[in-house]
């Protein structure tokens, strides 16, 4: 097997599981250490540079990093580090004035390039955040009265206080973005005719799916499309709902609809889904939060009709089903053949999905549309087939989440900057990467290498009764600084990399003997699959790489380290008599628009 090339930034990037899983590749362990050091503003800025909305994301992120977190797999009973809620600790405790002072400087003299951003959600705002400091003139169009997109119209205030959102949206608008709110763009052609040098489409996936079954028209006054209803609640066009509410759907929108209903006067809310509960798409913690508020969930109920009495919605009828899976795992719902179940209600929220819709984009602008009437967009450059027009966020490839929209925004900004400088958008800067030794002395590293046993801390919640009394009262309270510290200490510092130098190794086995999780083996070479069968401990996680040295060791064997459950405790390096192992901090930075980060990947 070929020796590992640790100068390829992607090798150690894979070892920092959370950072790899984060769409924006936020340097998680770096900010977690800063939180432990009570350097909240620094922790905030590390976040802000990557994910732009640390306060918002610290409360609402989909947290793809957490299922990936190494801590969650080092033991059966271990749970991941509360990465998301730690982000909030940084946001809650930062020094606001200092944050403002540390915002990028915006050149007073602009370059002569004008850019239109359509839609004011996280994707567009990220493009603005990256391009404003480079001197571009940026116009932002949105049909809502304020910026933030779905973060404002969809995510309810009891999950995301308006002040937190305003602060983070304003950091960007205050850079001098020319905002045109309450402006629905009904023609891309008109925009292009205004001679913008580039256009970014960040209009999200704004169309909620309807459910066309008998009774839909007659009951329409009390039947609401989930996302439209949530935005009416957010903008205070709707202030109450009936006593009995049915929410159809099992995703996060359904969870927001049912919990909002409880706060708008309903005292009997039921979530009803077609399929088994195990297939509900909502994040587990969102389901937990809804259940904590006493909302029951009913599975395997397929809607048959809206029942109308005296011209008004009176309930819904459902067919009870069971799920069957064929050999390919494809599911079908089989009716139990029972009498339909009648569920009484005053209102229904339909939260069964959203779609993109681009009625405002003319089809003769050289902008190709493909499958499902979606624009053809390059996955890496975010450029459409009209070279001036870029897409990002939910508008690019369908509904995702805030952090994905941010990641798209960064990349689209890189493309726009390259494009407007007459460069090839495919020629992107490699990520910046550095490795720096953390050794301070004997048994001393510049990070806390000890591994604590604490189990994951739970975030406190506002008492349910109190929370329900006020639509805007935040439910989750966040960690206090002490709990934040304790949780931060659970992080294994996966960016403190074990770096091996075969020229120094005398094959004394000290590292093999001390390693708590049996990561290291000295053995004769072989193919990867075969090597995996004869290491110190089973190496069955194929997602995790083997770190392999050359055979330039005294015995001609190779060193193989399975990265899978390395605790980054540094004991191998401490027990090595010759410093053949060293713990080195790996910093990986996604190149941003105009970023002059050195191309370490190529250089080293």
């Amino acid at each position: 097997m070929k020796p590992t090339n640790i100068n390829d930034p992607e090798y150690f990037h894979k070892v920092v599981d959370c950072q790899l899983a984060c769409p924006a590749h936020t340097p998680v362990p770096e900010y977690i250490r800063l939180i432990a050091a009570e350097r909240y503003t620094d922790a905030y800025m590390v976040n802000w540079a990557s994910n732009v909305f640390p306060g918002v994301l610290g409360r609402t992120c989909d947290r793809p990093c957490e299922p990936a977190c190494r801590r969650g797999r080092v033991d059966e009973d271990e749970q991941p580090v509360a990465i998301c809620r730690l982000k909030r600790v940084a946001a809650d405790n930062k020094n606001d004035a200092e944050v403002i002072a540390r915002m990028p400087k915006i050149p007073a003299t602009k370059n002569d390039k004008r850019i239109a951003l359509i839609g004011g959600g996280p994707a567009s705002l990220t493009v603005a955040r990256d391009l404003m400091p480079l001197g571009y003139i940026v116009d932002l169009y949105d049909d809502q009265p304020a910026g933030g997109g779905f973060m404002r119209s969809q995510i309810p205030s009891f999950r995301l206080p308006e002040t937190v959102l305003n602060d983070e949206v304003n950091y960007i608008l205050d850079m001098g973005v020319i905002s045109r709110f309450d402006t629905y763009v009904d023609s891309l052609k008109d925009i292009l005719d205004k001679n913008y040098d580039a256009v970014f489409v960040g209009t999200g996936a704004p169309r909620g799916r309807d459910l066309i079954i008998p009774g839909r028209d007659e009951g329409t006054d009390n039947i609401h499309i989930g996302i439209d209803w949530l935005s009416s609640v957010a903008f205070e066009h709707i202030e109450k709902i009936g006593k009995k509410v049915i929410v159809l759907g099992g995703g996060n929108t359904a969870m927001d609809c049912c919990r909002s209903s409880l706060r708008l006067g309903s005292d009997d809310v039921k979530v009803i889904v077609r399929s088994p509960r195990s297939e509900m798409k909502a994040s587990p913690w969102e389901i937990d939060d809804a259940e904590r508020e006493g909302i029951p969930m009913f599975e395997n109920h397929v809607p048959l009709e809206f029942v109308i009495k005296e011209g008004k919605l009176a309930g819904m009828r459902f067919d009870r089903v069971r799920a069957e899976y064929d050999a390919n795992g494809k599911r079908s719902l089989i009716s139990l053949g029972e009498e339909p179940v009648m569920v009484e209600c005053d209102d229904v929220c339909i939260a069964i999905g959203q779609d993109n819709s681009f009625p405002w984009i003319e089809r003769d602008l050289g902008l190709e549309f493909g499958k499902w009437d979606m624009p053809v967009v390059d996955k890496e450059t975010f450029q459409s087939t009209n070279p001036k027009v870029f897409f990002g966020g939910d508008a690019a490839f369908g509904p995702e989440n805030v952090i994905t929209a941010v990641a798209h925004g960064h990349q689209a900004a890189v493309s726009i900057d390259l494009f407007l400088n007459g460069k090839n958008v495919q020629h992107r800067l490699a990520p910046g990467a550095t490795l720096v030794s953390q050794k301070m002395g004997i048994h001393e590293w510049s990070y806390d290498s000890g591994v604590v046993d604490d189990v994951r801390y739970a975030v406190p919640h506002t008492e349910v009764k109190l929370a329900l009394s006020d639509r805007k009262m935040e439910v989750e309270l966040g960690f206090d600084p002490l709990t934040g510290f304790a949780e931060a200490q659970r992080c294994l510092n996966c960016d403190a990399q074990t770096v091996f130098t075969e020229a120094k190794c005398i094959e004394c086995d000290a590292c093999v003997d001390i390693c708590p999780t049996d990561c290291i083996t000295f053995t004769h070479s072989g193919t990867e699959a075969e090597l995996r069968t004869r290491l110190s401990a089973p190496a069955n996680n194929l997602d995790q790489d083997l770190y392999i040295s050359t055979d330039k060791l005294p015995t001609g064997r190779i060193m193989v380290k399975d990265e899978n459950v390395c605790l980054h405790c540094g004991l191998c390096a401490e027990r090595c008599p010759t410093a053949a192992w060293d713990m080195q901090k790996f910093m990986y930075e996604v190149s941003k628009a105009g970023s002059d980060s050195v191309q370490l990947g190529a250089e080293q």
């Binding site: 271990e78 004394c508 049996d518 459950v565 405790c569 008599p577």
Partner: protein
Amino acid sequence: MSYLKPSFRHPDLPVNDLGYTKKNYEGAISTLCAGCGHDSISSAITQAIFELSIAPHNIAKMSGIGCSSKTPTYFLGNSHGFNSVHGRMPSVATGANMANRDMIYVGVSGDGDTASIGMGQFTHAVRRNVNMMYIVENNGCYGLTKGQDSATSDVGSKSKKGDPNPFEPIDLASIALQLGATFVARSFSGDKEQLIPLIKAAIAHQGFAFIDVVSPCVTFNNNPGSTKGYEYVRDHLAATGTVDFVPMKDEITTSYEAGTSQEVTLHDGSVVHLHKADSRLDIHSRRSALALIKDYKANDQLLTGLLYMDPDSQELHETIQSSNKPLRALTELDLCPGNKVLTSINASLR
């Protein structure tokens, strides 16, 4: 700072017949110098005992004084242990063994502890065939007292201090053979593939099982000119062959070519199999072992591996026909069997 070893272990660690993982056989974190060969031996002992599925409370670790003798703290943390006076481990181990024959005795000593101050004690434990494993962690120096040459240091070998050793070395494996040891082996701390099966065989052996393990002292005797450093040992290593230890419960599945292998069945039915690298060796012959050690040494090579095994070994308890039960299991009735028994004993003496 991590003086503490994290409590996490590999989540897919194998379990042995008792349902334990290797973690149940670990000891405290070592305080020896980073890279000391002794730590590798501790790890080999841990692994071997784990694989043998011995309940930790059935083991007693015995040692003297020295870096090597400190190591029982760093393995088998759930077992019994006795850290005796310098060189006196053999007599304490003999006493313990006499008192409780049901325990498994793991003796760990150093070349100083055994070949100098403890030489007299050592010889008698060998001679009496005390049922124990006796490992000498042989680094050619007194590590704990800062690296003075020991009695096993080769003539001309230089420690870190730089003066060549003027004295003839004591070869502990040869001495053990001459004194009648019933199991003799030699190994190298850096070769666990060889050491682990040897430890298993030594534990299963009924009688005195001696293993001389060359174990570099990285701090005082791992320099150019030393014959006990990692580099020198690796360059001069030879082996009698590879050893397989097949526990009684397992079936022997490997087939061996005739003439190149030798097999010993132990009292408990387990089998030690030597796949020979040198066909001159007969593991049932002391003479063959002694001769080969000399031959290899003459060629500047260190012969490791299994050297000798007596399958008919009679351990001390059998020789002196002591009680079958550990002393602590003897009741008042066993010890004072009453007038009737006394009368019959007296009658037998008339």
